[in-house]
Symmetry: C2
Subunit: 341 residues, 2 copies
C-alpha cells in the first residue's frame, strides 16, 4: 500500500485531527492553513501541541502557509475541505481553477452557504463552484476532533453518490480506531449535520430550564425532545429525497448525541432556558468570546428553505418550527415547551 | 368528566408516581402495596414523602395493605400493574380470579418472565394468566418516576393492539405535563423496554473505559454504540413482527437515553469497562446493595430467544450478541470493543 497524496484545507480542529489517521495509514499528508490559522500554524511549526486538539501533528505532515495554496494542491489525489462554513465560499473560489477532475473532494464542513443569492448545501456549493463531475465525498457522524486526534474510537460515514468513490477513500483512510461506513445519501447526511445545531439549541433550552428551577432534573423532557428531533430529521430528509435511515444512524442520532454534550449551540439554548431573552443570550455569548452560533443562523435558513419555500407543514416539524419562532419571532418560552413536547 | 376508578398494584417508584397525574385528572385512585412495600406504605400513611420519588402521595389516594388485594380491586375500571418483573408472576396469579374482562390492564412492568418454562413478554404473560380477551395497555417511553412525580414534562406511549382502548385511557389520564401518545405496536414497545437494559450495560462499558484511561472522553464511541443499539432494536422489533418506528421513537431512543443517565445497568457496565472481571463487578454491585441487574439477566434471555431460538444472525445484532458474550461467555474487553464499534 503506497498511500494517497492528501491535501487538507484548514488547520482547525477537524482538519488537523484528520492528519493523525491519514498518516497512520501511510498517506502523504499536507496541511494548508487559512488566514485564520496563522497562529496555529506557527505553533505547529515549532512542534507545539495544537491548541484545539491537544496533540502535536505528525512530523511527516507538510505544513503550508495561506499564500501557498497552489503548491499545497499540486499533485494531490484527495483534497479535504475542512474550513468553516463561513470560509467555504472563499476557499472554493480560490481553488476552483486549481482542482482537477481526477482529484477527489472530501468535505467535513457542515451547514448551508449562500451562493449567488441561493441557499446551498456544502455538496451543492462544491459542485456549483468546482463542477458537477467532481468526485465528492461528505463525512458525517459523531466525531469530536479531540477524541479522533487522540486515536479514540471514532465511527464516521463517507457519503457519496458514487459508492465506488466512497469505498476507494475508505480503503485508503480507515484505521483500527477511525472506522468508516459508506452511504450514498449525501443530501440526508448534509441536512442532519446542518440541522443538528438547531435541535441542540432546543435541547439546551430544557437544560437551562432545569438549571433555573434547581433540584429537579428534566431528563424525561430532554429524551422526548431528542427523540422528536431525530423523527423530524427523518421527515425532512425524506422530504428532500434522502433516506430516513440516515437520520436513524450515525449521521443523525450519533452526531446529535455528541453535539448536545457541549458547544455553543447548547450553551445558547441553556441561557434562553434560564430566562434570558434571545438578544441578551446572544450578547452574553459574544461577551464570552463565542461568536457565530451556527444553530441560531441555521434555524432561520432551515425555516426558510424547509418550511416556507418547500412547504413542509410546521405540524410535521414542530421542534424546528418552534425553535425558529423562539429564536427569531419572539415566541414565549412556556409556549415553546407546550408546542415541542 | 367523572373520572375512572383506578387500582395501582405496587407502591414502588413508578406505581406511586402515577398517583399524581391520575388524581390531578380527577380519577379515583387506590394504591395497593406488595409485601416488599410495607415500609413505604407505613411512611405514606404517616404523610411522609415517598423515599424513592421525594413527594407525598395525594391525600385522596386510598392505601391498601398487601392482605387487602381483593378489596383494592373491587369495582376498579383500570388495574395498573406496577410491580417488578420478578414479582409479576406472583401478582398475576393472585389477581387472576379477581379481574373481570371489563377491567382494563395497564402495565408499566418491563422485561421478560418465565411462565411454565417458557419465556414471555409482560403482555404475553398477562394474557396467558388473565385471558386473551383482557384489554391490555403497555406504557413505554422515557419516564423517570421522580420527574413525573414532580410534574415535570413526561411523554409516554400507551401501546395497545386495540387503538380505541389506548385512546380511552389516554383521555382519562393525560395532563398538561403527562403527555400520552398512542401506538398499536405492543411487542415492539416491550422488546425495546426489555433490551434497553442490555444496551445500557454496553454503553456503560465505554464510560468505564474512558474513566480508566482518565483525561480523554469517549463520546464518539458512546454515540456510535448508542446509535447502533437503536438500529439493533429496530432490527429485532421487525424480526418479531413489530414496527421499526417504535425503536426510533420514545419507546426506543427516548427510553434508552434516560436509561444511560444512571441506574444499575450502566453501573455494571462501567465497572467492567474499568477492568473488573464480570464476576467481580457483580460482587461489587451486590456489596453496594444493588441486587439484580436486569440487563445482565436480559442479555442471556435475549440471546436465547432472539438469536439462538429465533435465528436472528449475530451479525445483524452485534451489540446484543457481544454484550451477551462479554457478560456470560468470557469475551475479552478489547475484543468486545472491536466487535461492537
Amino acid at each position: 500500500m503506497s498511500g494517497l497524496r492528501v491535501t487538507i484545507l484548514g488547520a482547525g480542529a477537524m482538519g488537523s485531527a484528520l492528519t493523525i489517521p491519514l498518516t497512520d495509514r501511510g498517506n502523504e499528508v499536507r496541511l494548508w492553513a487559512t488566514e485564520y490559522d496563522r497562529n496555529v500554524l506557527n505553533m505547529l511549526r515549532e512542534g507545539k501541541v495544537h491548541p484545539r486538539i491537544n496533540v502535536t501533528i505528525p512530523s511527516e505532515v507538510a505544513l503550508y502557509e495561506p499564500e501557498e495554496l497552489e503548491d499545497a494542491l499540486k499533485g494531490a489525489d484527495v483534497v479535504v475541505v475542512a474550513v468553516s462554513s463561513e470560509g467555504l465560499l472563499n476557499v472554493l473560489n480560490r481553488i476552483s481553477g486549481l482542482v482537477e477532475c481526477k482529484q477527489r473532494i472530501l468535505a467535513v464542513t457542515k451547514g448551508f452557504v449562500k451562493v449567488n443569492g441561493r441557499i446551498l448545501t456544502v455538496a451543492q456549493a462544491v459542485k456549483s463552484l468546482l463542477g458537477e463531475e467532481v468526485g465528492f465525498v461528505y463525512i458525517s457522524g459523531p466525531s469530536i476532533a479531540k477524541e479522533l486526534a487522540s486515536r479514540s474510537y471514532t465511527n464516521v460515514i463517507f457519503n457519496c453518490e458514487d459508492r465506488e468513490v466512497a469505498l476507494e477513500l475508505k480503503k485508503a483512510f480507515e484505521t483500527e480506531y477511525y472506522r468508516i461506513g459508506i452511504s450514498t445519501d449525501v443530501i440526508g447526511a448534509e441536512l442532519c449535520a446542518a440541522l443538528k445545531n438547531v435541535y441542540a439549541i432546543a435541547i439546551g433550552v430544557v437544560d437551562g430550564l432545569a438549571e433555573a428551577k434547581g433540584g429537579i432534573t428534566m431528563e424525561n423532557a430532554k429524551a422526548t425532545l431528542f427523540s422528536k428531533s431525530i423523527g423530524e430529521m427523518a421527515e425532512i430528509v425524506k422530504n428532500w429525497g434522502g433516506e430516513a435511515e440516515t437520520a436513524y444512524g450515525l449521521s443523525g442520532i450519533g452526531d446529535l448525541l455528541v453535539t448536545i454534550r457541549g458547544g455553543r449551540n447548547g450553551m445558547l439554548g441553556r441561557l434562553i432556558g434560564r430566562g434570558l431573552p434571545v438578544e441578551g443570550a446572544l450578547n452574553e455569548m459574544a461577551r464570552k468570546g463565542f461568536g457565530v452560533v451556527e444553530g441560531y443562523v441555521t434555524a432561520k435558513v432551515g425555516y426558510e428553505i424547509i418550511i416556507r419555500d418547500r412547504g413542509l407543514k410546521p405540524s410535521r416539524v414542530p421542534v424546528l418550527y418552534n425553535t425558529y419562532r423562539l429564536l427569531h419571532e419572539g415566541l414565549k418560552l412556556e409556549e415553546f415547551l407546550k408546542e415541542v413536547l
